[in-house]
């Protein structure tokens, strides 16, 4: 396994990538598995973490049976080291830490448990950790998203998915801003923003900054710094027609103009019947049909992310 790796000195530091999206059933787990497979094939040491603690099924995407050891064992301290619950996937360089589907309370793990998981994930001796986040905007999910070096936000070109993506962005950003609030009064304003009918009339992060500025002008700068550091990257999945491709550019532009959020467009994945057929057979389409359109799209996204590139409008 290590033979395929570049020499240690040239290897970049370990990165955490997360795949979120707010909405369920849009392909987050498949993207996680596929990106992991592609990165492992290119010689990186990868661990996939099924952070969908309530509805873990990343193993199924990889064609594996439900692993005996899961994140639940680590959370409940039946396994001391997080490495002990990482199982081989049969693909060189690719391991899986399965979600805690056997542990019903896992979706509501307590704060110290979560910190322990996050810290151990950070200390894994690999090149890339890929976190498959569950649906929704629970604090646990947002926290995994916020600790990532690369935070991918998956959407499909459908109204409900895009609505959820905006909600996800706002929720994640507000959580980050709340942590950066210096005073109780500023924290209260940030918390109030989560309620759409808040008394400050805050609809967007830009409104929030304006409200904070009215309360305490000195408190704005640290929040602006946090906003600048927040950087979601869109992946548009299930692209069926040419008109679906610009949706990613439109989301990036809308985020910048109307939310004050810097985002980028990591890429898009065509709708592909091959994917559907492979899912039915519990086989990963990347491995079964590397030449299919969706596989090639994902290879392109993986290459772009490794190189720090994104799609941009060129006219």
């Amino acid at each position: 396994m290590s033979e395929a790796l570049p020499v240690a000195a040239a290897r970049p530091r370990r990165q955490i990538w997360s795949i979120g999206g707010g909405k369920g059933g849009i392909g987050k787990s498949l993207l996680t598995a596929s990106l992991g497979w592609q990165l492992a094939r290119s010689g990186k040491r990868v661990v996939l973490v099924d952070a969908d603690l309530g509805g873990a099924n990343l193993h199924t995407c990889l064609g594996l049976a439900s692993p005996e050891r899961t994140l639940g064992d680590f959370i409940r301290r039946r396994a001391e080291r997080i490495e002990d619950v990482a199982v081989e996937t049969g693909v060189s360089g690719l391991r899986l830490i399965s979600g805690a589907s056997d542990f019903l309370g896992a979706a509501n793990i307590k704060y110290p448990q979560k910190v322990r998981v996050l810290n151990r994930i950070r200390s894994l001796d690999v090149d890339v950790v890929l976190l498959d986040l569950g649906a929704g905007t629970a604090f646990n999910i947002l926290d995994f998203f916020l600790i990532s070096d690369i935070a991918l936000l998956m959407v499909v070109p459908e109204p409900t998915s895009i609505e959820n993506a905006y909600r996800f962005i706002k929720s994640a950003l507000y959580r980050r801003l709340r942590a950066a609030a210096a005073t109780e009064s500023v924290r209260e304003i940030v918390e109030s923003a989560l309620d759409q009918k808040n008394p400050h009339g805050i609809k967007t992060p830009l409104d929030l900054l304006a409200a904070v500025e009215r309360e305490d002008p000195t408190a704005v700068e640290p929040l602006q710094r946090e906003m600048t550091a927040f950087h979601p990257r869109f992946v548009v999945n299930q692209v069926r027609e040419d008109a679906d491709v610009p949706v990613g550019y439109q989301l990036v532009t809308a985020c910048a103009r109307h939310l004050g959020v810097r985002s980028t467009y990591a890429g898009y994945v065509h709708y592909d019947d091959t994917v559907w057929k492979c899912v039915r057979q519990r086989r990963l389409f990347m491995a079964e049909a590397p030449g299919c359109r969706a596989s090639q799209d994902i290879s392109k996204i993986a290459r772009g992310l490794v190189r720090g590139e994104s799609l941009s409008l060129v006219w």
């Binding site: 070109p157 459908e158 109204p159 895009i162 609505e163 905006y166 009339g201 830009l206 409104d207 900054l209 304006a210 409200a211 500025e213 009215r214 610009p246 949706v247 550019y249 439109q250 989301l251 532009t253 809308a254 910048a256 103009r257 109307h258 939310l259 004050g260 409008l313 006219w315």
Partner: protein, 195 residues
Amino acid sequence: MQRETHYDVLGLPRRATLDQVEKAHQFLLEMYDDASLATYSLLDAEEVREARSRISQAYEVLRDPMRRQAYDATLEAAEREGTVVAFTPVAPALATPPVASAPQPEAALVISVLNEPVTGEHLRRFREQKGINLQDIASSSKIGVRFLEYIEADRHAELPARVYLRSFLFEYARALGLDPRRTAEAYMARLPKDR
């Protein structure tokens, strides 16, 4: 306060070609279309209307080489002075978030059209009704007061070549809230053909 330029509104660099202006405009039209996935849940009807209006204002200037040249000159002059001004009220740039309680002045959006023919005298009377002096126009448009006086006095022989005059009239009209294109055309229609 720093304001968005027309280039910012269309998301274009200053060197953008006409083709790029067209494509950026098309992209934004689609983005703010009623059927757009990216904006329908993010903006209310009024916000969409404002966004479209800003885009249209920017597009009308940048697609017209003459107006764009005049705009660029004003932009450059303003930058030399350390202020960036747009001809039309636009939302503040992202660096300075809008304050909810400070709406943009609606009055500035009202565009007037003078009855034709438009003479220097008509322009002067309209300006005086508005209580704007020539010095104000000169400092916002970077056009010398002398030329503004020539325009109002119909001293056609003293006016610059048509290409410059047209730009001057655009700036003059804009400063007074007049429709720039129609004002310039109506005024220039009266010029002797050899001018």
